[in-house]
């Protein structure tokens, strides 16, 4: 997914001379094609995230669309003040492409595990937060980035994730995609958890528990209308995310549901409010968090009406 996102930046740079790329200290050879073809619009600025965000803001003030790539935790926590003041207050079209969203960097420990990125950025006015489900959807999302007006955070998954998106379904930022029509359970998922939601829905259907699956690739702005469309049929709403239970998709959906007189029951499947421990792999930590498919099926079955 990351490779496709990065490669897409060169395609966009060919189309539009406003596109510039800024990396921090990425692996050797990243976007060499762009470096060769557009050396004036390729920047590799070292381990200096705060400076990079400010620099991107300055370029965007004078008409450029900077695409920044580095590891998600550093692209959020390290330079949050610059993101708030330089990008969001000014509402500038800078794209933050965050590698290793969620538990991807499990073996590298808590410094690299982005369990809080969505929550950190979702609270900032003007920021858009997106987490596509697979590489083809990432490409479709990248195609929308030239014209999107303000700052945009794009959470990138591990790569090699199962492809579940349908190229025939139009993609638009802020428009959720119904991946499965359902019954009394509505599952809202984001990022690569949508694939798990679909697999769980399949297994639950075999047990006569019908679930709709709504893929919320854009967490902010939240497609409230899409949720509300499914709500009349739903006795239970479930959110699934590879993120802390605080501040992410679940919080956004719960904020909406709590305002409804006809609110259904609600189940939040997310990471607990504690630092991940144990290393291993993304899958390993997801299983510990009860976010493997077996656990998702069990937890929804227990809660289903």
């Amino acid at each position: 997914m990351r490779q496709r996102a990065i490669a897409k930046i060169l395609d966009l740079a060919v189309l539009d001379e406003r596109v510039v790329f800024i990396g921090s200290d990425l692996g050797p050879g990243v976007l060499d094609g762009m470096k060769k073809r557009f050396p004036d619009r390729f920047f590799m600025e070292g381990v200096s995230e705060a400076n990079i965000i400010g620099m991107a803001a300055g370029m965007a003030m004078d008409g450029y669309i900077p695409y920044i790539n580095t590891i998600a935790t550093f692209l959020t926590r390290r330079c949050l003040d610059q993101i708030v003041v330089d990008l969001c207050l000014e509402n500038l079209p800078v794209r933050l492409i965050a590698s290793g969203g969620g538990l991807v960097y499990a073996p590298l420990g808590p410094t690299h595990i982005a369990f809080d990125d969505i929550g950190l950025l979702r609270t900032i006015p003007n920021m858009t937060v997106a987490a596509p489900c697979d590489a083809p959807e990432m490409e479709r999302l990248m195609d929308c980035t030239l014209d999107w007006p303000g700052p945009l955070y794009i959470r990138v998954a591990k790569g090699g994730d199962p492809v579940i998106s349908d190229p025939a379904v139009p993609f638009a930022l802020g428009r959720a995609i119904t991946m499965r029509e359902g019954g009394p359970v509505l599952i809202v998922a984001t990022g690569v958890m949508t694939a798990r939601a679909l697999a769980a829905a399949e297994r639950l259907a075999a047990r006569q528990i019908e679930c709709a699956v709504l893929h919320m690739h854009t967490i902010k702005p939240l497609d409230e209308a899409a949720i509300l469309r499914h709500l009349s049929a739903a006795g239970l709403v479930v959110t699934i995310e590879e993120h802390s239970a605080i501040g992410g998709l679940g919080s956004a959906v719960a904020d909406l549901l709590v305002t409804r007189v006809d609110r259904p029951r609600y189940l939040r499947l997310a990471l607990e409010d504690r630092f991940p421990t144990g290393y291993g792999s993304q899958d390993h930590l997801l299983t510990l968090a009860g976010l493997d498919i077996d656990s998702i099926v069990r937890r929804i079955a227990e809660a289903a009406p």
């Binding site: 920047f43 600025e45 705060a50 400076n51 400010g54 620099m55 300055g58 003030m61 610059q82 000014e90």
Partner: protein, 277 residues
């Protein structure tokens, strides 16, 4: 080279006029950063009167020079000189910080003609200035970029990230300026977090360093007119200044860094100080 605070140059009628405008703003808003504004006035005055190519009637003219006040808390000095140049009416000054005012306690780009970046959180301006300077280069515009920082601001690590970056990109049309008044909010820079040897630090980061009495209008003019903006080395002008300059009771006084409540007695004191010139 100037190594001690000199800043003894006498202040002329224009400097006095700008301070009167600052008093108007303090009186109207009943608050503001006093000391940190007064050390800045001659620096900004010389830049806007003699150096910057800007068009007040067309604040976003693409070929303009850019000035970022990275020490946003000194904004009353910037507001005063921008009003003098006609970026907005003088009447806005006395409304600063009041409900629905154009001018706030820190400058905001979205609302104020002539403001190039919203500042107030320290350590942001030089990086934004780098982005503006790179954009000017990519677009082959003649724009130069000036970034005014406070001395306390140099505590921020992001300033030094930016310093490395500016030298790497050979941004000769980028000039950093330090309002070196030797006092930060809590007390003397030398005690809170010493910056010396400051000129050597910037030199080692690849900057061409100038030092000047930051209240000497002729000297400031000479320095800024003398810089070779086509030479690829980024510049820094370390301006030795006096916090509170012009209000004798506030000079060198950390307690006048910021006044959250400006009483009418304070205003009388300030006006009387100007009368003594």
């Amino acid at each position: 080279m100037i190594t001690e605070t000199v800043a003894s140059a006498p202040l002329d009628s224009r400097s006095r006029r700008l301070r009167e405008l600052v008093i108007d703003a303090l009186e109207g808003g009943k608050r503001g950063h006093v000391g940190s504004t007064l050390s800045l006035i001659e620096i900004l005055r010389v830049l806007y009167d003699d150096i910057l190519k800007v068009r007040p009637s067309e604040p976003r003219w693409p070929d303009r020079d850019r000035l970022i006040l990275s020490k946003g808390h000194g904004c009353l000095a910037l507001y005063a000189i921008l009003a003098e140049h006609g970026f907005f009416p003088h009447v806005e000054l006395a409304k600063q910080c009041t409900p629905n005012a154009m001018l706030g306690g820190h400058p905001e780009r979205q609302h104020i003609p002539g403001i190039e970046a919203s500042t107030g959180s320290l350590g942001h301006g030089l990086s934004i200035g780098i982005g503006l300077a790179l954009a000017a280069r990519m677009q082959a515009r003649p724009s130069r970029v000036f970034v005014v920082m406070g001395d306390g601001e140099l505590d921020e690590g992001s300033v030094w990230e930016a310093a490395l970056c500016a030298a790497k990109h050979r941004l000769g049309h980028l000039t950093a300026i330090v309002d070196y008044n030797k006092l930060q909010s809590y007390g003397p820079i030398s005690e809170v977090l010493n910056l010396e040897p400051l000129a050597d630090k910037w030199r080692s980061f690849g900057f061409a360093v100038s030092e000047v009495d930051g209240h000497d209008v002729s000297a400031l003019r000479r320095v800024f007119l003398g810089l070779d903006y086509s030479h690829p080395q980024p510049k820094i002008v370390i301006c030795h200044t006096v916090k509170g300059r012009g209000f004798d009771f506030a000079e060198h006084q950390a307690k006048w860094h910021h006044k959250a409540k400006v009483e009418s007695a304070d205003v009388a004191l300030m006006r009387a100080a100007l009368e003594r010139w």
